[in-house]
Amino acid sequence: MLDDLDRRLLRRLQTNPAMPVAELCDAVGSTAAVTSRRLARLRADRIILGKEAIIDWSKLGYNVEVSLRVGLDKTQSRAFDDFIAAAREVPEVIEIQTFLGRVDVRLSVIAKDMTQYQQIYRARILTLPHIADIEALMQVARIKSDEVLPV
């Protein structure tokens, strides 16, 4: 379905989504017309879904990021739905993921400092419904974060 040129385009665009078309053409060795057509098709086929801005929360004063691994009380049939709906209401929750494994749900929570984190944790997180157990991993550093797919 995808040929070599598509893959080269996706590789380049993943490392620099803002790359101008002219530069992209040089990088993949193709003409502007062909490149534009390919990009349009990748978008039309919904392979490229769009672009998101990456926000550096630490630059906005959010210096603490904690990964909370939550086990839910599965005897409650609505445990996942209730928990996720309530977690969406907490502004400091920036990511919600569900899993198959030892962890049911993981939340990424940001805070300005440890004092604020403690407040959010006690007032907003521990009060979320159907929590059976919860473990915290505090982020020390992001070593790699590009999320590039090896296409």
């Binding site: 995808l2 996706l10 665009l13 993943q14 989504p17 803002a18 086929d45 919904r46 392979i47 490229i48 879904l49 769009g50 672009k51 998101e52 801005a53 990456i54 926000i55 550096d56 929360w57 630059k59 906005l60 004063g61 959010y62 990964s67 969406r88 502004p91 400091e92 929750v93 920036i94 990511e95 919600i96 993921q97 569900t98 899993f99 198959l100 494994g101 030892r102 962890v103 993981r106 940001i110 473990e135 915290a136 991993l137 505090m138 982020q139 020390v140 550093a141 992001r142 070593i143 790699k144 974060s145 590009d146 999320e147 590039v148 797919l149 090896p150 296409v151």
Partner: protein
């Protein structure tokens, strides 16, 4: 570092959902003049709050059916070991993100694979072979959503 107001936050919220919007489109959306939007975007970029862009791709259509999060505990400690581990782990193409964390694991990895068999190959040949890798816990991602955050 702060000094960003509600208008900056609104701009960030729009861009986090769709970074492809032009200053003209944003200006119209926010009821502002285009030069005013430009100035704010430049300031957000220069201060590093807008760190860059991420291309959003349909992983499944590209053949990556499985995303797994791994918690890894190193079997020994020491500065040398951390550097060796980080260098080796970031070089694995299927490893999308690496976070150094504090808690029951030392590192948290996001790994993509074509299917479970492919994941097993990556786990055995690449992850288990990393210098210092000890205990490994795997959780298969079922769903994920990014939230706008406290903007």
């Amino acid at each position: 570092m702060s000094g960003f107001d509600a208008t900056d936050h609104a701009l960030l919220r729009h861009l986090a959902g769709d970074a492809d919007q032009s200053a003209a489109a944003l200006a119209q959306l926010m009821g502002m003049s285009q030069p005013a939007v430009w100035r704010r975007l430049r300031r957000l970029e220069q201060s590093g709050v807008l760190k860059g862009q991420r291309l959003v791709l349909d992983r499944e259509k590209l053949g990556f059916g499985v995303t797994v999060f791994l918690g890894i505990k190193l079997s020994g400690k020491g500065g040398m070991l951390l550097e060796d581990f980080e260098r080796a782990v970031t070089a694995i193409p299927e490893v999308q993100t690496v976070e150094h964390v504090l808690g029951m694991y030392d590192y948290r990895l996001r790994v993509v694979a074509r299917d479970i068999a492919d994941f097993e190959r990556i786990l055995r040949r690449r992850i288990m072979a990393l210098p210092g890798a000890g205990d490994v816990e795997a959780n298969v991602l079922l769903s994920e959503e990014r939230r706008p955050g406290p903007l």
